[in-house]
């Protein structure tokens, strides 16, 4: 694959990205011409099942969401390491396989530990 063809592929990516942004922007700008605009105070209040909203929406939520986010970061970095290993496994042979299996075993241990610590429970 020549360098020119290589960059052509990324021009496609850029084109799709541009269109993906341009479509909503164009449609919403065009929509301004056809849609009515009649805001008043009652209409602009926050929806809370029809009654007057109480307080701010920045409420406290369960700490479990924070723990899930932490677990996700750990395991997502792990998958980033596994992808190049998976691509090259054909050339790495038995040595590469053993190293990869040790890596996955350590991760499995980590998952088992968080399982035992009841981090994964949702109540």
């Amino acid at each position: 694959m020549g360098l020119g063809v290589y960059f052509d592929n990324y021009i496609y990516v850029l084109l799709f990205m541009t269109l993906g942004v341009a479509l909503p922007v164009a449609a919403l700008t065009f929509g301004r011409l056809v849609r009515p605009n009649n805001p008043y105070a009652e209409k602009l209040t926050t929806y809370e099942s029809g009654i007057a909203p109480t307080g701010d929406a920045q409420v406290r939520y369960h700490v479990a969401y924070y723990i899930v986010a932490l677990e996700f970061v750990i395991f997502d970095v792990e998958t980033v390491f596994l992808y190049p290993w998976a691509v090259a496994l054909g050339q790495l042979g038995w040595v590469g396989l053993n190293i990869g299996l040790i890596f996955i075993a350590i991760l499995g241990l980590g998952l088992a530990y968080s399982f035992k610590k009841k981090v994964l429970e949702w109540n």
Binding site: L23, P24, Q58, L111
Partner: protein
């Protein structure tokens, strides 16, 4: 290949994608209608074929209400952020042997990386609305999407190990060479992928972020008119993209008996995935949030890791 040709191709894909979304919404409503022993939409055009067009026209002419309490800049930006990555992933999808755009060597990684940005739009929309329902829906949605992203990404690793390439076209050619679709040797991965894809798409029975019975309509409660339409469009665009990705990975892409062109086979296989999702929506009740989160971490991720280990050992053993 010059720039004009590439631009025309991208615009055509955009138009076809919009048509695809229009008819998959109709398809969904018809399928669920027949499954519930009612005709579904049948007023606009023959067989209700213009129903979605009418809906879009209506949404276009509705007032665009932005609540006073909302964080205006982010509120306006969120539908764009939700839609753009869902369409950008179409660049790597190879519709047939000859119809494709970007032939990236990192196709799988590109698809997964870009598509996961959709959840940013969900979080921005829910957070900036300054509405309790929206915030809870968005937080739930993001927790669910990141939890199911891991089994989704890990299940594909089995295929990457067997093929030894991240190029989507190479994956299809490999399936041609071994004369077998990956749904057979990687059946466990296929099941994990299907379950996580439904959760990624926030579709029923995992549609907790927009559970009507408890959260009004989740992260897009405050959205109206065309901004709301773009959240819906992003959801269906992403659904079609995931169906196309699954077709490439597990059902051999454009491969099929020669009496139909490859692109027709590709679209038919995509329709099977779409139909399964609509079927599940008509069949299963909504899962509980605690069950849903535990299922990913306790069942799907260990199974996906097991699949990787077994696949890697077989790969080195057989010396493919």
């Amino acid at each position: 290949m010059d720039l004009l040709y590439m631009t025309i191709y991208s615009v055509i894909i955009l138009k076809l994608m919009l048509a695809g979304v229009t008819f998959s919404i109709l398809f969904e409503r018809k399928v669920i209608g027949y499954m519930q022993m009612r005709p579904g939409p049948n007023r606009h055009g023959p067989w209700g074929i213009l129903q979605t067009v009418a809906d879009v026209m209506k949404l276009l002419m509705k007032e665009d209400v932005i609540p006073r309490q909302a964080d205006r800049a982010i509120f306006v930006l969120a539908p764009v952020i939700a839609f753009a990555p869902a369409f950008t992933v179409y660049a790597v999808i190879s519709w047939s042997d000859t119809i494709y755009a970007a032939d990236l060597n990192i196709g799988v990684l590109y698809f997964l990386g870009v598509s996961s940005m959709t959840m940013l739009g969900v979080l921005m929309g829910g957070w900036s609305s300054n509405n309790k329902y929206s915030l809870l829906g968005a937080i739930r949605g993001v927790a669910q999407m990141i939890s199911y992203e891991l089994p989704l990404v890990l299940s594909i690793l089995g295929i990457v190990i067997l093929v030894g390439s991240l190029n989507l076209r190479d994956i299809v050619y490999f399936q041609q060479d071994i004369g077998m679709w990956f749904i057979i040797p990687q059946f466990l991965a296929f099941v994990i992928y299907m379950i996580s894809a439904i959760a990624e798409l926030n579709r029923s029975p995992f549609d907790l972020p927009e559970a009507e019975s408890e959260l009004v309509s989740g992260y897009h409660t405050e959205y109206s008119g065309f901004r709301y339409a773009f959240f819906m469009l992003a959801e269906y665009t992403y659904a079609i993209a995931i169906a196309a990705f699954a077709t490439t990975l597990f059902l051999g892409g454009w491969l099929g008996p020669a009496f139909l062109p490859g692109v027709v086979w590709f679209l038919l296989k995509m329709c099977i995935f779409m139909f399964i999702w609509f079927w599940l929506r008509a069949t299963l009740p909504r899962a509980r949030v605690s069950h849903l989160m535990q299922f990913s971490w306790k069942v799907l991720i260990p199974l996906a890791l097991l699949n990787i280990v077994v696949t890697a050992i077989i790969k080195v053993w057989m010396g493919w």
